[in-house]
């Protein structure tokens, strides 16, 4: 993989609401090109919502996301594992081949060059020989490897991962994290929603800590402090209490 130089992704006062309840509240900041960032926070903190908004899958109800010269197809987004119906009758190779969409589109040829890319990507994730297997036959770990292979074929300069290591065996986890580091070394911007703070400290130089509102964003050592983590927990508790009071209204000017 050649070195890539993606644009920065900047959030400007982003608010995302579900039925008028804010899931992400006034978040601003920049994912600098080539950074490796973890999005951390308690349950219900809006981590996945923020990731989807960054990917362009959700529209902010206020504020905006600036992506510079990035086209939608320059951003690879990996959903949480259960989001795709794995009983769908499709093979591993076909799933990975979808990554060629940027080049082939809906109607273009997916020829020998793309087949080659798919084979190489499957080799990268240790799934050689599974090309023709139906995805229904895969374990959770193998399925996550397939999604990583699709991201490889996408050759995207920005990769967004939603809880990519949740529920995986240790082998798969360490294999996939080494792929993430490889992407980072090649200059890609990688952003991942993650749970375990120890894991983040070991592997992610940057962290964005969120509890509906932004708690801290910067070098992981400065962000994941006991103070900040405690503040994230109390903030999310405050938000939960305010949602129990439907008469509470809050207008943005």
């Amino acid at each position: 993989m050649n070195a890539v130089r993606p644009s920065a992704i900047t959030l400007e006062n982003v608010i995302v609401t579900y039925r008028r309840l804010p899931a992400v509240h006034h978040v601003s900041g920049t994912f600098a090109p080539g950074t490796l960032t973890a999005i951390a926070g308690p349950n219900g903190a809006g981590k996945s919502t923020l990731l989807k908004t960054t990917a362009g899958l959700l529209k902010p109800s206020e504020g905006r996301v600036l992506r510079g010269a990035l086209k939608p197809s320059d951003i690879a987004y990996l959903p949480q594992l259960p989001e795709i119906d794995r009983t769908f009758p499709i093979s591993v190779a076909e799933t990975v081949m979808l990554g060629a969409w940027k080049r082939a589109g809906a109607f273009g040829e997916m020829g020998a060059a793309e087949e080659q890319r798919v084979q190489e990507a499957l080799a990268c994730v240790n799934l050689v020989g599974y090309a023709r297997a139906p995805i229904a036959a895969l374990s959770a770990g193998q399925w996550q490897r397939v999604l990583f292979a699709r991201a490889i074929v996408q050759e995207a300069s920005v990769v967004l991962l939603d809880e990519p290591f949740a529920g995986l065996d240790e082998d798969t986890q360490s294999h996939l994290i080494s792929l993430v580091h490889e992407w980072h070394e090649n200059g890609r911007t990688v952003i991942a929603v993650l749970h375990e703070t120890d894991f983040i400290r070991r592997h992610f130089p940057q962290t964005l800590l969120i509890a509906r509102e932004l708690i801290a964003w910067g070098p992981t050592v400065d962000v994941l402090t006991p103070d900040n983590l405690a503040r994230a927990r109390t903030t999310i508790a405050k938000w939960a209490r305010s949602e129990d009071m439907p008469e509470h209204q809050h207008h943005h000017g």
Partner: protein
Amino acid sequence: MEHLLDPYSLLIEPLTAYAFMRRALVACLALALGSGPIGVFLVLRRMSLMGDAMSHAVLPGAAIGFIFAGLSLGAMSLGGLIAGLAVALLAGVVSRTTVLREDASLAGFYLASLALGVLLVSTYGSAVDLLHVLFGSILAVDDEGLLFVAAVASITLITLALIYRPLVAECFDPTFLRSVGARGSLIHLLFLVLVVLNLVAGFQALGTLMAVGLMMLPAAAARFWSDSVWGSIAFATGAAMASGVVGLLLSYHFELPSGPAIVLTAAVVYLASIVFGSRAGLLVRYRRQPHFHKPEEMKP
């Protein structure tokens, strides 16, 4: 009953000796060509009941066509097409702009549409007309009807061939398709048009209620046999064609109404698939299967 022992008079002659049977046979085969693949995509999109709902939604349009032009296939088909598309689009708009999910909003509109259709037919037509619209009669398909069914099958296959890749991608992983900036909703809309077209085509031959049977039963059965979309389509289309032929023969020999005979044949295929299906049938669960394993064992 002696003629039943002779394969020619048992299987071939009934389908070739009479013009109405020849037309019925061709209509069945053409319907199967279009409905088979459409049904597979409905199953894959978890919209199996959508076909059923849409088949009811078609009714008031067909009734209005009937009021203006009598038993004219053209007018009734056009009316059915407009009513079906209107219900599908309204349901889509409501589910995207309100809290109602698509299945609930669709149920709301199709029930209203069905009631309106029954009201129109019973006010301006007769009970016989209503029965004809609801249950159709493949033995009464004329040349005009045949051309219509054939045209719909052609349009369906050509359109599916063109949009095959984005349609499969949209069914499988709509989030991915959106994330690469493709227009999934346009594909969805085109697909809905094809669903309604095929139901309208099936409606004269099999009636609004039975047309959806030829669409969904072979498609549901196909999931028990194939691990690929393409394989499912091939199976569903083949099963729909076979159901048409067998159903017509049964209807001829035992003097059964043709629509239910065809759909019941498809139902037998469906039930058999649940038990014997090679991919996920009940029997294979108790049998050892070849499995995908470590790379070195997979070398050809």
